[in-house]
């Protein structure tokens, strides 16, 4: 067993038009920039993207949106320092937005990975984001029913990976990635360092390899925030 791919380009090559793609990260922390840029090179269209945000500046997810690859975005917070890539298209009616409260978004993704088709949450009850959702009362309190969220692919960034796909994450770059790894048909991880089997202590594994299909080693990965401070653009 070896899930190693030689390049980001190879790892994302089969993502085709109309796919649903989860992208890890919270803002730039944990954003898999190199995988996203490889996907921009590949150029599939009509994607549905799941991410907490909607990109910042003109690299990563923002650049994907600028390339017109994204038909629909499912996220909690489509604002950033430089949100024009998304906001211009949104306000022009050229991209669809499904807005979800952040905790509901996270739990829907986990539910997709855990085989839980629906669950109840108090979040958004009585608000416009709860409109149209089934309501049920438990122990005298009203809750909304929310559905799982799954994807064809997940693109995530990890720190260490071993040939079995076991992953660890760096600092707060963990965020959505362990959940998205569970919820996608094919999970593609860029890792800062690929280690041998046994190179990650079994107790230190954060994402067990069963949730990971493909690994690409990207040493010294780019940070979205640093790219934006340098006013970078992709391509």
């Amino acid at each position: 067993m070896n899930k190693h791919y030689a390049s980001a380009a190879e790892a994302v090559a089969d993502i085709c038009d109309g796919a649903t793609v989860m992208i890890g990260g919270f803002g730039g922390s944990g954003a898999p920039i190199e995988l996203i840029h490889a996907l921009i090179d590949a150029g599939p269209k009509h994607l549905t993207v799941v991410n907490n945000n909607a990109g910042n500046g003109h690299v990563g997810l923002a650049a994907m949106i600028e390339q017109g690859m994204v038909d629909k975005l499912i996220c909690s917070f489509p604002k950033s320092k430089d949100p024009t890539a998304f906001s211009e298209r949104y306000l022009a009616g050229r991209i669809e937005l499904e807005l979800a409260p952040q905790g509901t978004l996270a739990e829907r993704i986990r539910a997709g990975g855990a085989g839980i088709p629906a669950f109840y949450t108090p979040t958004a009850y009585g608000t416009e984001l709860g409109e149209g959702k089934p309501v049920a009362e438990f122990d005298g309190r009203p809750y909304l029913q929310e559905r799982w969220l799954k994807a064809d692919y997940a693109l995530i960034k990890a720190e260490l990976g071993d040939p079995y796909g076991n992953l660890t994450y760096r600092l707060a770059a963990r965020n959505f990635s362990p959940l998205m790894a569970m919820a996608a048909g094919q999970t593609i991880a860029q890792v800062g360092r690929l280690v041998d089997a046994g190179g990650i202590e079994p107790e230190a594994v954060v994402t067990p390899g069963i949730f990971v299909n493909r690994l690409v080693e990207i040493a010294d990965p780019a940070q979205e925030e640093v790219l934006n401070q340098a006013e970078a653009r992709y391509p």
């Binding site: 919270f26 489509p78 949100p83 952040q102 905790g103 979040t123 608000t127 362990p178």
Partner: protein
């Protein structure tokens, strides 16, 4: 509105910090509420939580020392205290939704006397963005709001019923404003005045408040050090 001695944001944050107890787990909303951390009462050690999966973070790093994998929910660089922990987003919101946070402090566009909060969008225009606010107001054991007493156009922010889109229903129990500290008696749907600026009359305060201020027992003096 131009009330003499009206508290600035630093002072409102200072007042809110006085109510945070030692060892409490606290989430501070992006922006104004973040200022509360700077006024932690000496001898108390609250543990700060941020939605993107960190417990136990400290101050911002010096300029040039930022690590952009180590940020808070406002995407600002942070540092860690000893005893910090990282976790994924599902666990982070399990902490919130599961009632493990002692206090969430948020900003407000409007708060109603029934505890309803509106703080995520003004109307139906522009790009909507909600983040973790709706989870926080439904999950934390205590939800407090920091706000100027009235909006910039002079409209009351403390109202009988929110007109802006809601963040949560019946969730806010205490409001720290530039003029007063007000509790929300959610079952009775009424504001209860706890403290006001010493020189401010009840009539003047009521005049800039959009719902009746009830009094139960003594109203304290809202006294805050000079801060800027």
């Amino acid at each position: 509105m131009n009330v003499r001695g009206q508290l600035n944001q630093e002072q409102i944050a200072w007042r809110a910090a006085q109510d945070i107890e030692d060892g409490q787990y606290v989430n501070l909303g992006i922006g104004f509420p973040e200022k509360v951390a700077a006024y932690t009462v000496k001898g108390r050690e609250p543990i700060f939580h941020t939605e993107n999966g960190v417990l136990g973070f400290g101050r911002a790093p010096a300029k040039g020392e930022e690590d952009w994998d180590l940020i808070n929910a406002g995407k600002k660089a942070i540092t860690l205290k000893p005893g910090a922990a990282f976790f994924d987003h599902a666990t982070s919101f399990a902490m919130i939704r599961g009632g493990h946070l002692d206090v969430a402090i948020l900003g407000a566009l409007q708060v109603a006397s029934n505890g309803d909060l509106a703080n995520w969008r003004v109307g139906s225009k522009g790009v909507p963005a909600v983040g973790g606010a709706m989870d926080l107001v439904n999950g934390a054991k205590r939800v407090a709001v920091l706000t100027d007493h009235v909006a910039r156009d002079g409209a009351p922010k403390l109202v009988e019923r929110c007109t802006f889109p809601l963040t949560g229903v019946g969730c806010v129990t205490r409001i720290y404003t530039s003029l007063a500290v007000i509790d929300v008696d959610i079952p009775a749907a009424r504001f209860v005045l706890r403290e006001k600026l010493p020189h401010l009359s009840m009539d003047d305060l009521q005049f800039v408040t959009g719902a009746k201020l009830h009094v139960e027992g003594e109203v304290g003096n809202l006294e805050v050090p000079e801060l800027s």
